[in-house]
């Protein structure tokens, strides 16, 4: 049954990729290789630079290729999302369940929520240089804010739905938080983590392009500076494939964790 429902999805995905490839080829046929390289050139550049990209030695005195740099980016995206998830979850839950914290924290967090994410990048560079923390900072910041907001509203809804009922069963407030509110938050949290991870790739790559010492974004910049467009596109394609695989794994784990959800 699952195979039968997966076939149209996979077939649709492949057809979509072929359509994009056809459009790209049409544009490439009337443009220069520096602007729109043809697909075989992109594939060749990706293969040539997969394990080792010589361009890095010229631009950053660095080593490695597309794969190692994409893995670096992936690791930082996932660490950033995980850190943001912990911070955001604790903050959102505290905002929803601890009265004094809500009074103190609501306004500062609301103000932080209005700050454009990219606007904090210069500050991260000032504070943390070009370290991994500086480039992951955007992912952490974005994830923490979105998770906090989602968790706060979901905890509020769970409280309305369940807290009176739990009280009539003789359940204490702390136990209600642990046994009732926390499990009720899991589905919406998994949803927002998926979204934050999807956006996280973009933020991480932007941070690496603008101030990173390594990673997929830095490699794209190196290829771009040398007008090796095919290599830059090859990096983006590999990032895209890894991102899709990571999203599928998170989705799979999520479905397993919340198999009870309606």
């Amino acid at each position: 049954m699952r195979v039968r429902t997966a076939v149209p999805t996979v077939a649709g995905g492949i057809a979509g990729v072929l359509v994009v490839a056809a459009i790209w080829s049409a544009i490439a046929s009337v443009n220069t290789a520096a602007r729109f390289p043809v697909i075989p050139a992109i594939v060749q550049a990706t293969i040539d630079n997969f394990d080792a990209a010589p361009i890095l030695a010229y631009t950053t005195f660095g080593t490695g290729g597309i794969w190692s740099n994409v893995l670096w980016t992936a690791q930082n995206v996932l660490l950033g999302v995980a850190t943001g998830l912990i911070v955001g979850f604790a903050t959102g839950l505290a905002l929803a369940r601890i009265h004094w914290f809500n009074r103190l924290g609501r306004l500062p967090i609301a103000i932080l929520g209005t700050v454009p994410v990219l606007a904090i990048l210069p500050f991260l560079t000032l504070w943390f240089g070009n370290s991994a923390l500086a480039t992951s900072g955007l992912v952490i910041f974005f994830t923490a804010l979105t998770v906090a907001s989602t968790v706060q509203s979901a905890a509020g809804a769970a409280e309305v739905k369940y807290s009176d009922y739990a009280a009539t069963l003789g359940v204490s407030k702390s136990r209600t938080t642990m046994s009732v509110i926390l499990p009720a938050l899991v589905p919406s949290t998994i949803g927002v983590v998926r979204a934050a991870t999807a956006f996280g790739w973009g933020f991480q790559c932007i941070a690496e392009v603008l101030g990173g010492s390594q990673g997929a974004g830095r490699l794209v910049r190196s290829f771009s500076d040398a007008t090796q467009t095919a290599g830059a596109i090859g990096v983006l394609i590999v990032v895209g494939i890894v991102a899709v695989v990571v999203d599928a794994l998170i989705g799979l784990a999520g479905r397993r964790i919340v198999r009870w959800n309606e």
């Binding site: 009176d164 009280a167 069963l169």
Partner: protein
Amino acid sequence: MTVETSAHQLAGVKTHAAAIELENVSKDFRLESGEVVTSVDSVSLRIEPGEFICVIGPSGHGKSTLLNMIAGFLPPTSGTVTVGGTPVTKPGPDRGVVFQRDTLFLWKTVAQNIEFGLKARGIPKVERKAVVAEMLKIIGLEKFADAWPKQLSGGMRRRVAIAAVFANKPEVLLMDEPFVGIDYLRLAQLHEVLLDLWQEAEKRAVFMVTHDVDEALTLADRIFVIKHGRLALDLKVHLPRPRLTDDITGPEANALRRQLLEEFSR
């Protein structure tokens, strides 16, 4: 347990504690416009242990507010609410509530939902398992012990919700329109389950808000009609139990039905 209620104190009479007692209970709400609306107006009533009460009346006339005050979700503006002789100040396990909305924990199986209140109160595992098995048998869902709520029909979920509350063995069961939207056949089944659980504990009182006159005649020992926040009628139902279709459609039931409908239209 015996207590002296204020009315009885005046008369110098000592009685058993009422399951639920309201003395001059009122509840006001302030609207956003600043206007104060009296939802419940000086209601006094006494419900004995083991009585099954159905509360009917037009929408917005204070039935649910009354139930919420007994449950401890709302404090009265004036007057006192006592359950088993103890003043109500907050929700507690002595007053089980079956809500109109679905409150089953989706991440717990049927058995875990029924067990949850017992576990939270530190009841030993062996005892908990025995209670869960008994409840599953009464509601006829033994085969669904390990099912998630999402795998159940609406009627089955209602049965689990009722069992989860009854498992906690509350002195008083409060139900706020628990069977809204359930079809006729399932409703009869649910009434049967409810009456089985109620009769299983001799002294357990039930206070059930409903809009359905037939449902009230099927279940209740007494029917309260609440209109404009006041107790407009306290009607005793002497129909024999179990109440079959003939009992509910017979002359005695029709006389009660007429009395209720007349009170409604007055």
